[in-house]
Subunit: 459 residues, 2 copies
Amino acid sequence: MKQNVLSKMGRRTGVPPISWLMQTALTRPKLISLAAGFTDNSTLPVEISRKVLNEILRSPKTGQPALQYGITAGEMNLRTLTAKHLQKLDGGHDRAHSPEHVIITGGSQQLLYMTLEALCDEGDIILVEDPTYFVFLSILQSRGIKARGVKLERDGIDLAHLEEVLERLKKSGELRRVKALYLVTYFQNPTGATTSLVKKAATLKLLKKYERAAGHPLYLLEDAAYRELSFSSPSPRPSGERAGVRGFELETKGLLTPTLSSVGGGEGENAPPTSLTLPGAAERVIYTGTYSKPYAPGARVGFGILPEPIFTTVQRIKGNHDFGSANLLQQLLAGALASGLYDKHVAKVRKNYSHKAAVMKQALAEHFPKSVEIWESGGGLYFWARLPKKISAGVKSKVFQAALKADVLYVPGELCYADDPSRKKPDNEMRISFGSASVDNIREGIRRLGAVLRKALAR
Amino acid sequence: MKQNVLSKMGRRTGVPPISWLMQTALTRPKLISLAAGFTDNSTLPVEISRKVLNEILRSPKTGQPALQYGITAGEMNLRTLTAKHLQKLDGGHDRAHSPEHVIITGGSQQLLYMTLEALCDEGDIILVEDPTYFVFLSILQSRGIKARGVKLERDGIDLAHLEEVLERLKKSGELRRVKALYLVTYFQNPTGATTSLVKKAATLKLLKKYERAAGHPLYLLEDAAYRELSFSSPSPRPSGERAGVRGFELETKGLLTPTLSSVGGGEGENAPPTSLTLPGAAERVIYTGTYSKPYAPGARVGFGILPEPIFTTVQRIKGNHDFGSANLLQQLLAGALASGLYDKHVAKVRKNYSHKAAVMKQALAEHFPKSVEIWESGGGLYFWARLPKKISAGVKSKVFQAALKADVLYVPGELCYADDPSRKKPDNEMRISFGSASVDNIREGIRRLGAVLRKALAR
């Protein structure tokens, strides 16, 4: 009697895999977690936040507006600073970076949620990278939205496969249910892959080609949550030629196969411009970013840049959710950005993660069997490890159980694959994070994991 | 081609009436707004917030956790403090006040949203007070949930009418679509009415009676957003006899008719215990409250106390929305509560609103025609005015236009009525707020509005 009072959505909304992993971690106090996508405690901007908040709360004149209701889309000051910040990262491009289309949200997660509310009915389809961000898959599942996977290469999705998937959906009559393609474009969660600008442009073009058959726009939903966590400096590019794309052609890269190989190694490749810089972006790109990862998850300020009619719709939906995000946090971020403290902080954060990634890389080279393929990233929080296909690293696998027993936790890669009937979910992969673990724990954690893998491979 | 990419919900989500009112206010700089439900800028806790945040961000040890991710349901510390705070307000009762069932949200608005997500499919029915909180109606409309109104008296809903509505829905076979009854129980938005404990108890009993025919639980969704804004001291009652209800009987009160009459006048009636203190509450009461109104909307921390399976479902949904509310704000509220600064602040806030309500009351007596019926409240932010039935005060009425012309804004009462085919929406009512206007503007605003009404009635 009790369960059937729930909505269909209520019944569909499952236990999030991440909370199960966190629960598991709590039961083993000595466990080293290489699973959490948490940021590093030691880099959190305690001093900066104190300074900025003191400045805001120093007088009633500045303090009162920060403690009052604001505007649903967010404070114009922060929206303007955000648009400028993104323009700077994109080398001065301002094509689709209008503050009027910026909306401030409770992390980029809330933006993703509301965008799906605005776009999708039950039974609609979102194309995703294969593998992709697992909480995004949880939202889709909960809302009865289908996900269809597009193969992921180290510089972004496999364009030929995207076309194949679109063609297949067109033939089956399902294309009219497709609303968007979701890409995590920088140092992707979980693989660390960064989508090249060439691939972004080709993707937009390909989506456009299928709009007629779909009967409506096909959006590119670009999630740039990890964008600022580049190991090398994402310094502004000269505006003009390089940042934009004029005549591009589909680039087909052979699959890289060395055991330890770099994903988007060079400086330029580490921070390609967003798809907002491309022709037609203002109409078709839904861009999301966040200050959670580079600044502080505990302040949880994210944002989106949205085309119409998505902007208006999401803004109205946000009115129903919460009338707009907490002003105090918006002003904290605005203060940090305007004072330049934000940029200084991010430089420090990048240096820290870069160091920790190097430590993990060395530990992986030392302890992991050579038959494990490692995807190394130019930023973000993750390494991606692919075991030989016969070895499962899934939730119920011997490897996962042995790792738990050895007090080390990773995210089984299979959790990052959509329920897509057109292929079996690979279960031989692992997401390994250096985000929150200390340098010592990274070394020890990889040592433990390496021992588990050696044993599994020796069988 | 563009609009049809939106989901059904996206297309249904309309312009919120409140943003239209705010927009209108912006175009007339000299306008006195008695419309907004904003809190008074001058009472916002700037100094307290600075103090508490400095304490938190004083050292990395306390600052880092506040800037890191937390737990989806909220920090256990704040959940415990919240449960204790509510217990105290309820006179020591702890029947349904367990911290394990407290969830922290982005204002109580987000809790309302997620509760409806957990409970309702398109076509389901929520019973509401007639009139009720208009943003709640916006959520229902956006999600395709039907609202059915129950007549509101000055001490809560009309119980005979509730039974009549339930009986009618049972006969039409629609009772199985009913999931909950939504009541704003303290100093209601928009009327200022406070629901007596006797009525809460009778309501719970009546809902229980119809559960069998519904085939599932019928929840009482108690929204206590304005609870702490009582003009008289909501001091803890002695626990035991008075707070709980043993043998109660349906109280039928005659409609009070004096021109200026008090709604819940005495101290006890100002702050009756919540329905959480009633037998069976732990299973059937969904309680929501907020720190936005009594503390600061710009910190936007709300909460719910939820029975199973609603708690677990809402917690999972919140995982998909935002993984939990910003830790920094949760710790701000926890710090304010634990230090006693919160209680001191609320006492100050209540005194301020009490004074402003008295100013408005006097102005109403002076300037409003005697034929206008005023509902005076014992707390909150609103007066409710009912014009003679032949006079419309609706959005398109001459009165509203004349008021705008005279540079004074109110909320037309008709916006607070659900789309319920069983009755015509009354359009002769006004919500008048003393929340954000200054004492001078309250006097001047009511003078202007009084002049408009005198003119309208003289026609």
